[in-house]
């Protein structure tokens, strides 16, 4: 009897202690559910279990490459929302497409605790300068640099490979049916003056080429930096290969959608298969109409990527571990309605 009572008491005590532990954890650190709720319709994943009371008043700083672009505009909104949620000071600058390394000197005057930039051309120089000042640097979508141990975002090469995987899926299905025995070309819509594009679409081209064992002649690079528009290049390529079919990946959504529309106008919609990278509202709107040649897109969720950068930077400041950003969600015609409703509400008829 005594033993039974003792065991009962032990069980109740341990349950109380466990509950207290859970409550204590809830009270001191943010949970994944709280982050999902705070990030609204985007439902961002938590990357680091950050304390509700920081050890210091942290100041974070970031140079946005160009907030006028919808992707980077959304990144900025996500960053500011996260900074407000966590109650930290966030200094943001916009280099408007120019170099970051000079503006970074001005950014340093704000005495930030953690800094970051994106510009693929000079991010290593910024990281080196941050190292000179002993300020942790965490870049955005650029991968590893020898000047900082921290990596964040979706490196351009991996983004390109993810796009190629989705495109391969779509093209394989067509090759098994209506594209059987047709000559296949891969069209890489890029901008050779933008290193991020070269890296991104180059990785996609390599992955696609290897999978379908295409020779170099069947990989066509259409370079926006030559001065020709993407529409002109698309139309001349279609004219040059009247019987061929084309798999296309652009550096960003718009660079693929305009040629896609041109191909539709030219009556060649059945001969193209497009996958885009980014996944803002315009491609979602187009995909919602279920066009024959638009297979889907890789959604980077720029808002959440911006939110996650703030979380990761705070994790570095607090000495907490953070998980890599994993939003490489593929959205296709099969699930666009659901995804569209989640992000933008029910589509209008």
């Amino acid at each position: 009897m005594f033993i039974k009572r003792f065991m009962h008491l032990l069980f109740v005590s341990s349950m109380l202690l466990a509950s207290a532990g859970v409550l204590a954890q809830d009270a001191t650190t943010y949970t994944a559910d709280e982050i999902k709720e705070a990030s609204g319709v985007e439902q961002c994943s938590q990357l680091a279990e950050l304390p509700k009371e920081f050890s210091e008043d942290w100041k974070l700083a970031f140079i946005n490459p160009n907030k006028a672009q919808s992707f980077w505009g959304q990144v900025s909104v996500g960053m500011n929302a996260a900074a407000e949620f966590y109650g930290v000071e966030f200094v943001e600058m916009d280099s408007a497409g120019g170099p970051d390394v000079e503006l970074f000197e001005t950014l340093l005057l704000n005495q930030p605790d953690v800094v970051g930039t994106h510009n693929a051309v000079d991010y290593e120089a910024v990281a080196a300068r941050a190292l000179d000042e002993n300020i942790p640097y965490i870049g955005f979508d650029n991968g590893q640099t020898e000047y900082s141990p921290y990596v964040y975002g979706i490196p351009n090469g991996i983004a390109g490979e993810a796009g190629a995987e989705l495109l391969i899926e779509g093209v394989q299905a067509r090759l098994d049916t209506d594209w059987k025995d047709r000559e296949l070309f891969f069209l890489e819509f890029t901008h050779n003056g933008i290193p991020a594009c070269v890296d991104r679409t180059g990785a996609a081209a390599t992955a696609f080429k290897e999978h379908f064992e295409l020779d170099d002649e069947h990989i066509i690079q259409l370079d926006l930096a030559t001065g020709a528009t993407e529409i002109e290049m698309m139309l001349s390529t279609l004219t040059a290969h009247p019987d061929a079919v084309f798999a296309m990946i652009p550096c960003w959504d718009g660079l693929g959608i305009a040629p896609y529309n041109a191909a539709v106008e030219a009556g060649r919609e059945a001969d193209i298969m497009l996958v885009t990278l980014g996944g803002d509202k315009p491609p979602a709107d187009l995909l919602l109409t279920k066009p024959q040649g638009y297979y889907g897109y890789i959604e980077f969720q720029p808002y959440c990527e911006g939110w996650g950068w703030i979380e990761s930077a705070l994790a570095i400041a607090e000495g907490v571990r953070f998980a890599p950003y994993q939003a490489r969600r593929a959205v296709t015609q099969a699930d666009i309605e659901q995804r569209y409703a989640e992000l933008y509400g029910a589509p209008s008829s």
């Binding site: 916009d94 280099s95 000197e105 001005t106 005057l109 051309v121 290193p195 070269v198 180059g202 930096a225």
Partner: protein
């Protein structure tokens, strides 16, 4: 009839002061605008904007563009419009990066050869203008396109990321050198402007450049060596573009096909026009070019500090440009009266 006749005789004696004030304002419009601009940003963000660190940032931004714009001013004064500076700069930086970072040649050798390459490009530009008789606007546009293709092919042969990394020592240390606490590039910029000021205002070469740009035929009839002047102007513009691009690439630790010679200020042509250098040649002051370059750098830095939205930023830059052209146009009209 008699009442109206004395009017022209009376008017100049009655209104000399407002006219003099107007002339002063128009002649120094850009300088006044710069002072107002500094006052606005200093009021909005006194701690950051007025700090020594930001002063050097502004001057560094000015230096990266300013050196090319200074030589560009000479070309414009001589009546030559060079549209190839961005591409000539980019390909020079890429060639330099290829020799220094890929082939691992010594820094000095890579630099000298890259600058010689830039000089060669400038000479090709001048050959097209002088011998083939193609207007500089078209000749430089064509060469620029060729240079861009060359830059891309060198990069693609040596890199998969669209860039050639330049983190081999001691380049970064040299580019970031400071002399008595002032960045060496800033000192170099002021030295370049001083030399060009003396050249344009106190030498026969300067007078010939203005004469050539103002009226090429008259200059030729007066025995001015027009071909030599065009060659000089276009070669030094190309070399300055190459030099600036190597500096930018070295500071950014990478060279790409779009290494921005114009920096965050846009191309040198825009900066030169902004500073009141006419497109038709024969006019323009180098000191005004320097003020224009600093004005644009202050604008870039100030708007970044205040985190001005990109849309407002674009409108402010556009308004500043229109305002500068307007002042210059009114000034020229008054001067020709």
């Amino acid at each position: 009839m008699l009442r109206t006749q004395p009017q022209p005789l009376v008017r100049p004696t009655n209104t000399p002061l407002p006219r003099a004030v107007l002339k002063f304002l128009l002649n120094n419009g850009l300088l006044i605008a710069l002072v107002i601009e500094i006052a606005i940003f200093a009021t909005a963000s006194p701690e950051i904007f007025l700090s020594t660190g930001n002063l050097f940032t502004v001057l560094r931004i000015s230096a990266t563009t300013g050196i090319t714009v200074a030589f560009y001013t000479i070309a414009l004064i001589a009546g030559q419009i060079d549209l190839s500076t961005a591409q000539v700069g980019a390909v020079t930086a890429v060639i330099f990066a290829w020799m220094f970072a890929i082939l691992e040649w010594p820094l000095e050798l890579s630099f000298v050869l890259a600058m010689a390459f830039a000089a060669l490009l400038g000479l090709i530009n001048s050959w097209l203008v002088i011998r083939v008789k193609i207007p500089s606007l078209i000749a430089t546009l064509a060469l620029g396109t060729l240079c861009y293709g060359l830059a891309i092919s060198v990069i693609q042969s040596n890199s998969t990321t669209g860039l050639i990394r330049l983190n081999r020592p001691p380049l970064r240390d040299i580019i970031n050198t400071e002399i008595v606490g002032i960045p060496a590039t800033v000192i170099l910029m002021f030295a370049v402007y001083t030399i060009i000021y003396i050249l344009l205002n106190h030498t026969r070469l300067g007078a010939h450049l203005y004469a050539l740009g103002g009226n090429p035929q008259a200059a030729r009839l007066n025995g001015i060596q027009d071909k030599r002047l065009v060659r000089f102007a276009l070669m030094f513009t190309a070399m300055s573009a190459g030099f600036t691009a190597i500096m930018i690439a070295g500071r950014g630790l990478s060279a790409g096909a779009a290494t921005p010679v114009g920096g965050v200020l846009g191309g040198p042509l825009v900066a030169a026009i902004f500073s009141g250098v006419g497109l038709s040649g024969g006019s323009g002051r180098i000191e005004r070019t320097l003020i224009g370059v600093i004005f644009l750098a202050v604008l870039t830095s100030g708007m970044s500090i205040l985190n001005v939205s990109p849309f407002a930023r674009s409108m402010i830059e556009g308004l500043a440009f229109v305002f500068a052209i307007l002042i210059d146009s009114v000034r020229q009209r008054i001067e020709t009266r």
